[in-house]
């Protein structure tokens, strides 16, 4: 059974006609061409597919688009403001926090929410916030460093306070 849905992704509204049983992950990647959202298990076990719904990190592999109508969805493609990267993206690039880069979109979005809730997180708080995102490349070290750097930079420019 297909259903017509209106989804707001990265501030843009998309009308899609999709089977109800397609997950948000599948619709983002296969119907909207937003392949920045990755997947590593499709069972809620790795965090790779994280997107923000109303600003909260959720697992797109376990979310149904029918439940997402009228809610703001943010994917990694929506993190930058025009051509200006989010400070997290900048810091991840500069510090080598993305090795293979596959876990990166999910981690960036999870960290974005963390910094909104807690602009000056401790290292332990960052670890706790990112405990639902597996990365097999980095040992998390540079990822934690990059979140700290971004927090520091965002703190210095409260005007940019996203």
């Amino acid at each position: 059974m297909k259903t017509r849905l209106s989804l707001t992704v990265n501030g843009e509204t998309h009308e899609v006609l999709v089977p109800v049983h397609k997950t948000l992950l599948e619709v983002l990647r296969e119907d909207l061409g937003l392949t920045g959202t990755k997947h590593g298990c499709e069972l809620g076990e790795c965090g790779t597919c994280t997107v923000l719904v109303e600003g909260e990190p959720v697992l797109s592999c376990l979310a149904l688009p029918v439940e997402m109508e009228g809610r703001a969805i943010t994917t990694v493609e929506g993190m930058a403001e025009g051509s200006t990267l989010h400070p997290l993206q900048q810091a991840f690039a500069e510090l080598g926090a993305a090795q293979c880069g596959y876990c990166t979109p999910g981690i960036l979005l999870t960290a974005q929410r963390l910094l909104e809730d807690n602009p000056v997180p401790t290292r332990t708080e960052i670890k706790e916030a990112l405990a639902g995102n597996l990365c097999r490349c980095t040992g998390y070290t540079k990822i934690l460093d990059a979140v700290e750097l971004a927090a520091l930079r965002m703190g210095r420019q409260p005007a940019a306070g996203r």
Partner: protein, 338 residues
Amino acid sequence: MMRLPAFTYLAPPTVAEAARAVVEHGGEAMLVAGGTDLYPNMKRRQFEPKVLIGLGAIRELRGVSGRAREGLRIGPTTTLTAVARHPEIARHYGALATAAGLVSSPQLRNMGTIGGNVCVDTRCNYYNQAYEWRKAIGFCMKKDGDICLVAPSSSRCWAVSSSDTAPVLWSLGARVRLVGATGERTMPVEALYRDDGIEYLAKRPDEVLADILLPPADGWTSAYLKLRRRGSFDFPVLGVAVALRIEGAVVRDAKIVLGAVASLPRSAPAAASALVGERLTPEVITRVADLAAGPAKPLDNTDYAHFYRKKMTRVFVARALRRLGGLDGEGRAEEEVA
């Protein structure tokens, strides 16, 4: 990519309509809240409902109300994150906030609900596998087959109750209100569970969990400890929920409930009553921990060896009691070295 099987999706606006919808579709329909338990199970074909009845649109199921003094009402579609962060819960029903905050990962807690957690499917590492895997090893009676692979001579399923909040709610004396197509009932949360890995809930499919009701918190303190290999993602392979009412250092009332050691949460009444009238001395704690481990009969169908889970029951009960008695010298090991 693991994908969901096809289904129709309904989003009724009221509990009554939800219950009616289940009845209308016979055995074809299932309720779904956050979907974090049901969807992975559906992708592995452990459930194949033709109709899903989403509870997300039902306003009466959402949110926390009341005060600890007179008791709290938690709407079952409240997310685990919201439960863990709720100040009144964190302050007066500490173990519940802890348990909710220990479920899987932060993202999952933003989606998963406490109602879904109370009703979460039992688990077994012969069962939580993809369809092809289960077919290869031979289907078991929990789905598609007729034997038990853990205990082949058994006529029942021993899948493990794996909810973090269920043992805590039991230890806190929580009650649940169920609303079905033909009426409603309220009962202690423990009455919801059956000692069977398949029919693990004593509730009709059309009955919607509508309220989780916590009694007044007066004088109770509580703790929840969870055994698992990693600090995130993993289900409990042992949960220890302890609630105590202590007056002037003497335990007046006690409840100890174990999670993930059987197909339902297991209370340890003998251990609990051995605490009553006692102070939390190391000797008492050791004795109670031994007693509490009695009801734990884990089988070899989760992570960690079952003998280890059994052994840890004593350790974790003792730890929980030490924590509540203020006897845990957390951090002293570090001081020794520093």
